[in-house]
């Protein structure tokens, strides 16, 4: 299990292109995050947990799906850590393990309703169709 988690950690870092060691723990990502209150693990914790290899709780956490992928943290991080990309990479690991439940491009038109912001659809595609 430990080996598997280590493999996930390096896969997350490789796929996201994020170097969590650049984080100086300022917490600006969590100060910025609009979904903070819905999250069990907040953006700065996310970065720290990936860095320290504490991946297992993240894989099980609902926080993965609370991230709006708004990229505010990416824009404002002074160290260029890009936390949202890390969240996305972890999410991808989970989704991949679940098998074939991807959102298909063809199924999007049926999902469109007037109240749904376009950004949410783009985000959904990013989240599920990789």
């Amino acid at each position: 299990m430990k080996k598997e988690l280590e493999a996930i950690q390096s896969e997350v870092i490789r796929r996201s292109g994020v170097n969590p060691k650049k984080c100086m723990r300022c917490g600006k990502c969590s100060g910025t995050c609009p979904a903070y209150d819905q999250m069990e693990y907040h953006p700065h914790q996310f970065v720290y947990m990936v860095e320290s290899g504490d991946i297992e709780p993240l894989l099980k956490s609902d926080s993965l799906y609370q991230c709006l992928t708004c990229f505010a943290c990416v824009d404002r991080c002074p160290r260029g850590v890009e936390p949202a990309k890390l969240v996305e990479a972890v999410r991808l690991q989970v989704v991949r393990r679940q098998g074939n439940n991807h959102l298909k491009t063809d199924s999007i038109p049926a999902l469109i309703d007037e109240d749904m912001p376009q950004q949410a659809l783009v985000s959904a595609l990013r989240k599920y169709s990789k």
Binding site: M24, G27, K28, S30, Q45, P78, G80
Partner: protein, 664 residues
């Protein structure tokens, strides 16, 4: 034929650990010209030097090669040793077998091989060396200080105290710099003006100091001891020697809406102005961009009210040429622009201010006469949020901020927070920090007092965004220790903006041929051992132009720079470098290429008579090198198309001999 001695140093185990020193001295013993070869544990020690001296006498050596550390370290030492034994010091060559060999290799075999090759190259060079005698150049006993902030002021005062004349060039209409804009100073809380303005007056009254205010340096030529500098004295349209500084013109001028840069644009001044009450020189200046008389030829109120008749609308920029022996850069710093930090709403709300603006807002001479108010509507702020590290400690790839820590923000923020709580106990003060950095005498005690005695709320975390809502500022931030996201309704947000070198520093560095780092701070000659000297001889560094600094540090560095300047100006003559350019007149074709590339103006052309093979006389134009001015850079030797120009001590023949020895 030379008689060469080779001396291989072990440098303890520094060299001997990776290089077989015995093998090196054995191998070099058979090189052409070598009559003696030895190795020793520490060549630079007294015993090692005696070894060299004895060998020079015993073997009648005419040149020596020392295989040791970098010539930057001990070339001077071994030259002195040789001179003491009666050998010309320029008959000494160093083969660097430490920095360029033992320290970069791990393997004994490769290290030894390279050491031998480097030694052979040095021997080949000494075979072609000739004794050289350095010339001397006089020292102009006058110093130039560029920048009139606290750094420049202190340097100038200290140099003047030693009896040398000093000129200060300041771009603003008054000296004083950033310190004049500050309210109180940490950690003692004495008023900045109260400790600075007496020094400004000292400068004005010191007979050895001239102030060129509203001026800039436009050209620098020459070299250490002999700089030729051109100073542009911008027209201020007021005769400096006649103006009494009464200030009547600044009250009567009808142009009332010019943003006042001294108060960072938070209030207005007139088109004719004196920056602040204690300005030095206390002389009015007309801002040509806003003066109606200068723009349209209509008005003339200031000239009418001036009892002294000091106004001169026809004044022109004036260029002054002066010679200096030493130049001190003291160009200082500025807070970075907040334009790129949209998340803090600096451009959206007047109530989001920088720390320097906060200084003016709490200063009795500031736009609100020292009452802490919200700039938007003048109300008293009840909740104030301070944000630290805005633009400091950013990633190197960041387009918004700087990679370095600005060093002074933690302390001045603690000062602002403490003073606010002291004067207005009804305010709630939050400070958001990443780390609180307080390495300084009485600094940490000061910060702890702010938190413990004055009840400033220090929160570890960063503000994510500030949004103006219903006349207030909604601050969203993280509290990392409580693991919470905070939402604060603030009246005033103060940003501790990173500091950067003044924009004038880079063009100045180009004029001085002084080096800078990637952030445009001046580079020191050695980060530990020569912190106030630039690598360019005769150029010294004072204050924040070298790196972020607080006032006590700036003042100590300013004094140190002054001491170095005094040490230079106290000399009557400087011993030059004999490794200067040398033109072979018989080969020179008079093309002027060398004259054009010479950065020091050391080459001139003269007409000279030559006897031709047919016994007639012909006058030819040939290059002539002024050895006192030449710095031995070698640019002319490369530019010369006919190969007439050579560098003494580094002749083309010598370099080729070294290369041949290496490639053999």
């Amino acid at each position: 034929m030379q008689r060469i001695g080779v001396f291989v140093c072990w440098c303890g185990s520094n060299i001997a650990g990776t290089v077989d020193v015995q093998a090196v001295s054995d191998a070099l013993a058979h090189e052409p010209g070598v009559v003696h070869s030895a190795n020793y544990q520490y060549m630079c020690s007294q015993a090692g030097q005696n070894l060299i001296k004895e060998a020079i006498e015993e073997h009648k050596l005419t040149g020596i090669v020392v295989c040791s550390c970098s010539p930057r370290m001990h070339e001077a030492t071994f030259r002195k040793t040789a001179a003491a034994a009666g050998l010309n010091p320029y008959m000494v060559e160093i083969a660097n077998i430490r920095e360029q060999c033992s320290w970069v290799h791990k393997d004994m075999a490769t290290g030894t091989e390279k050491a031998i090759i480097l030694g052979k190259a040095a021997v080949a060079k000494v075979n072609l060396n000739a004794p050289l005698t350095p010339g001397e150049s006089p020292v102009t006993k006058r110093a130039l200080v560029i920048g009139g902030g606290i750094a420049g002021i202190q340097t100038a005062l200290d140099i003047a105290d030693a009896g040398f004349p000093v000129d200060i060039v300041e771009t603003k209409p008054t000296i004083g710099g950033k310190m004049a804009q500050l309210d109180k100073t940490f950690p003692t809380l004495d008023c900045a003006a109260c400790i600075l303005t007496p020094k400004m007056v000292d400068v004005a009254q010191n007979e050895n100091i001239r102030i060129f205010s509203y001026s800039e340096v436009t050209d620098i030529k020459g070299f250490v001891g002999n700089f030729d500098v051109t100073i542009k004295k911008r027209a201020r349209y007021v005769k400096e020697d006649i103006c009494t500084g009464c200030g009547l013109c600044t009250e009567k001028c009808p142009m009332k809406n010019v943003p006042n840069e001294f108060n960072l644009g938070m209030d207005n001044r007139r088109a004719i102005y004196i920056p602040f009450a204690q300005a030095v020189p206390k002389v009015a200046t007309i801002d040509p961009e806003h003066c109606n008389m200068l723009k349209n030829g209509k008005c003339g109120v200031c000239a009418k009210v001036c009892a002294a008749g000091a106004i001169d609308y026809k004044q022109q920029d004036e260029y002054i040429s002066e010679k200096y022996g030493a130049i001190v850069a003291a160009t200082g710093f500025n807070p970075i622009s907040m334009d790129k930090f949209d998340e803090y709403a600096y451009s959206q709300s007047k109530d989001v201010i920088t720390s320097l603006e906060f200084e003016r807002l709490t200063n009795a001479a500031g736009p609100s006469s020292g009452h802490l108010v919200c700039p938007s509507d003048g109300r008293h702020p009840h909740t104030i949020v301070f944000v630290q590290c805005v633009g400091s400690r950013c990633a190197s790839c960041s387009e918004k901020g700087k990679e370095y820590c600005s060093k002074i923000c933690c302390m001045y923020t603690a000062k602002h927070a403490m003073l606010t709580r002291d004067k207005y106990p009804d305010t709630e003060v939050y400070v958001f920090y990443i780390d609180v950095r307080t390495p300084g005498k009485n600094f940490d005690e000061f910060y702890r007092r702010a938190a413990e005695e004055y009840g400033v709320k220090y929160i570890k975390g960063m503000v994510g965004k500030v949004s103006p809502e219903n006349g207030k500022l909604h601050v969203q931030a993280s509290d990392l220790l409580a693991d919470k996201q905070l939402h604060i309704e603030a009246d005033l947000v103060v940003l501790a903006a990173a500091i950067e070198p003044d924009k004038s520093a880079r063009p100045l560095a180009t004029m001085l041929t002084a080096s800078m780092d990637t952030n445009d701070f001046f580079t020191e000659a050695h980060p530990k051992l020569r912190p106030v000297e630039s690598p360019t001889a005769g150029v010294f560094l004072s204050g924040a132009c070298q790196g972020p600094k607080d006032i006590p540090e700036t003042v100590s560095q300013a004094g140190a720079a002054a001491a170095k300047v005094i040490g230079l100006l106290a000399k009557d003559k400087l011993t030059g470098n004999p490794c200067v350019a040398n033109s072979n007149e018989l080969m020179c074709n008079g093309c002027s290429s060398c004259e054009r590339v010479c950065p020091y103006g050391a080459i001139t052309y003269v007409d000279k008579e030559f006897r031709m093979p047919d016994r007639t006389t012909k006058v030819r134009r040939v290059a002539s090198v002024n050895e006192a001015v030449c710095q031995g850079c070698g640019a002319c030797t490369v530019a010369c198309p006919s190969g007439a120009m050579d560098l003494k001590g580094f002749a083309t023949k010598q370099i080729i001999a070294e290369v041949d020895a290496i490639c053999k």
